[in-house]
Structure formats: structure tokens, C-alpha cells
Symmetry: none
Subunit: 140 residues, 4 copies
Amino acid sequence: MTDVAKHLRLTHAGALKMIDAAVAKAGEIGVDMCISVVDDGGNLLAFVRMDGGKLLSIDSSFNKALTGVSGRVPSGGVPGDVEFKLAHATSGKLTNLKAGLPIYVEGIVIGGIGVGSGTGEQDLEVAKAGIAAIGAGYEP
Amino acid sequence: MTDVAKHLRLTHAGALKMIDAAVAKAGEIGVDMCISVVDDGGNLLAFVRMDGGKLLSIDSSFNKALTGVSGRVPSGGVPGDVEFKLAHATSGKLTNLKAGLPIYVEGIVIGGIGVGSGTGEQDLEVAKAGIAAIGAGYEP
Amino acid sequence: MTDVAKHLRLTHAGALKMIDAAVAKAGEIGVDMCISVVDDGGNLLAFVRMDGGKLLSIDSSFNKALTGVSGRVPSGGVPGDVEFKLAHATSGKLTNLKAGLPIYVEGIVIGGIGVGSGTGEQDLEVAKAGIAAIGAGYEP
Amino acid sequence: MTDVAKHLRLTHAGALKMIDAAVAKAGEIGVDMCISVVDDGGNLLAFVRMDGGKLLSIDSSFNKALTGVSGRVPSGGVPGDVEFKLAHATSGKLTNLKAGLPIYVEGIVIGGIGVGSGTGEQDLEVAKAGIAAIGAGYEP
């Protein structure tokens, strides 16, 4: 039946587990973050803005998550000559900021996580902690 | 592993098969239509506007498909006292027009189809033809 | 010091506690929900879409929370003759659907919670459970 | 009769033929794509997102098609010093990404095709295959 294919989906229990682990990691680092988890359709599954999370990181963390799930690779690797072309053509959704990761389980992308408010490296560390919490990866 | 659940997804081959069958049914009826097929995240998978399809049915067919996949029941059954409240609260995405159907396979909603440009009944007949084309249903 | 006044704010720990309690109540009722918690600036603090939560309730739950925090009373009480005037004038943000509650602590509104995917009564019960979890109220 | 002029328009049969040929070419290349076909009013005529097509290419493929039909030349040739001015002034609709082509028949632009998810060159090859399928061109 080629009209329909087997797939996997991220549950809300899984998404909240990711949020909790990301919050814990942000606490360790000492930088409050905004953390967005989306499903594989780019729709918000879970979110938290920590006390010191930046207001505008609500949006950027979401767009990072979208970018991760859409491109199926960590955000930040788009070549400089097309980076802003893509940002414009997607109303800013496709971002070349770091810390937007696809969530891979059994080789399938089931969602994305995006983190913002710290440096790119801090954000990325928190995003990775979220993914690790459910035993997933950010590569196939 | 409760973080991740088994799921099914509609392929583009399936979506195009739905489009073709819906176009054929619209031809039989003699009313050109706009036909939108979305995945279970409400993202467009396939679309066609037939020659006589109405310009504004591009949007309404999409919102019908969204409504079907979101509510998991055929569109049009929302009670009159909340219909416009829901339309406003969702920026018009939740529509109480007929002919937005969820696509059920093995009891799971894998997408939605929305059809517009005819009467509600004509639109619905075309939407049903799309669903029948892949052996799916619009009820669990 | 009349230029600046003492205030209270909802922490992310508090917001996540509300989310957890709301999820638990939704589980008891047996209807999966979308749950949005916003701060007193109407900005998202925490969110979860449960597995069976409706896609379009992402938006409506957020607008309910906005409506609760803005009006400082539970959503749903706007008279019919102004309901849609207000919806239009706020781009749909002010909704007269039930289950958007202000979060009161010591007589001060510190945020709002909005819940959607069930009936108005089910949504409201879940929103109330969220508020009870932090010992807050939805009235002054 | 100078008030009204003869015109040509792309039929839905033609648009679907373009989609099918583009899908076939994408299959040959081995990269799943999003493919948008618009009429000369920039309104969507036909669309498909292949199984591996990127979520954010739904938007970018549409904007590419718009850019092709608007400028009447292949997208990607705008000089660097005005590229983002144009992107801003059109809310991102005018994109300088490759693979947005006008559809020329008898020297008249009857629509546009936009393709995304691969490299610019891959996208362009797929767009050209779509145009070739109806014996049209992307130049006058």
C-alpha cells in the first residue's frame, strides 16, 4: 500500500521530557532559555520560556525548531550566499542561527527542537540535552 | 517506548491519487473545483484548481482540509452558537462549511481533504471520491 | 515611589506545574487538550499539545489565555452584541469561547491559561485544574 | 478591440502534466521536491510536496513560482544590491533563489513554476522538466 507509509510520531510525554531535560541543562549552564519542540509537521508540541528567557526568543526558538525539522539537519549550515534568500523566501522561518535540531528516531525525523536566549553554543548544548532525554539523535 | 508512537503518513503518490479521483468526480458532476490535500500536520501535500474553480476557494478548500484534520470529523457539524467563535479564534482556519474531511486509515487520521467551488453537497461528494481513491475513510 | 510599583510574576516552574496538573486533569476526563500558559504580557510561558489535542486548538488555546489575562475575568462572558466586534478589532485574539482564565495571586493578575480541544466545560475544568495547582485563583 | 486582448491560460490539465513530469524528474535525480505551479495571476494552480520535500519549501517553491511569473525571467538574476530591497518590499515574495521560471507559450507568460528542496541546480532541472512537459519555454 504505497498510498500510506509507516511513520513514527513524538508523543507529548516525550516532548515534555525533552523540555524538562533542556530546562535542567540550561540551569546547569546558568542561562535561562526559550525551548520549542515541534512535531514533524512543524506544529508546536511543547514550549517553555524560562524566567530569564528572552521575549524575542519565543519566536526564534520556534523558527529554529522549524528549520531543524524542515531541513532534517542541524540549523546553521546554510552557505552564506543563500542564507538570507532562504530567510526571506520563508518569511524568516528558515533561520541559519544555531540550535535548531531535527529529532531522529530509527532514521526518521519525528520533530524538531529549537533553543534560544544564550550564545549559539549554549543554545545548542541545551537542544542536544533535550534530544538525548528521549534517546533520540539529531542525525539519521 | 512511550516517547514515540507508531504512526502512518500519507505519501505524495496517495495524495496525487486523491487529487486525480476528485478531479474525475468533479468532471462527472460538471462543476470545476479547488481541491486541497494536507498531511496530519495541516501542511499542504497536493492541490489543484480546476479551470472553473473559484479563486477564493483556494483558501477555503485549504481551510476545510485543515478543519477536517484538526477536528477529526467532517467539517460542518459545529453548533451555531460556537461556530463563529471558533472561526475567529483560529483566524478563519476552522470553518463550518461542508466538505472538509479527515482521512482515516486503520483508525488513524493521516491527513485531510478540502473541496470548494460548488454547493456544499457537490464539494462533499468530490471530497469523498478523493478519500475512496486510496481506500481510506472519513470516520474512525 | 509612584513611578514603579511592586508586582508579582509567574515563574516557569509555576507555569510547568500548571501544565502538568492540566495534563493530569485532561487525562482523568479522557480528552486530550492543548494548554497555553501566558504571562501578564500575553507572551507564551509554557505550552503542551497532548497526543489527541486538536491542531487548531494550538491557536485557540493561546487566544483564550490572552483573553483571560487581558480582560481579567474568565473568557466567555462578553455580551453577544459586542462579541464579534471585539473579535474583529483584535484580529480574533479576544475570544468568547470558554476556558480562558486569568491567574490571580494576591489580587493581582500574573498571567492566563487557555485550554482547548474538548467541550467548553471540559476545557474549563482543565484550565481550573491548572490554576489550582499553584494555589492561585481566577477571580480577584 | 483595444479594451480587451486575446490571452492564453494554463489549464489544470496542463498544470497537472507539469507536476507529473517534475515529480518524475525529481525521482530520476533522487531528490524529493516541493513543486508549485501558478497561473499568470500568481494564484496556485497545482502543487505537490513529495515525501522527502522540505516543509519550508512549500512556501519557497510558491514564492519562486511567483517570482518567475512576475518578472517574466528565471529567478536568481537580480543584482545583489537590490535583491533584498525587493525581497523586503514584497514581503519575501520576490526571491533571488534559483528555480522559479515563467511559463512561456507563443511569447506570452501564462504562469510560473517554482521548485525547492534540493540544490538550486537540482531545483532548476526539475522546474525545466515541468515546463518541457507541455511544450512551453521559460523565455519569450
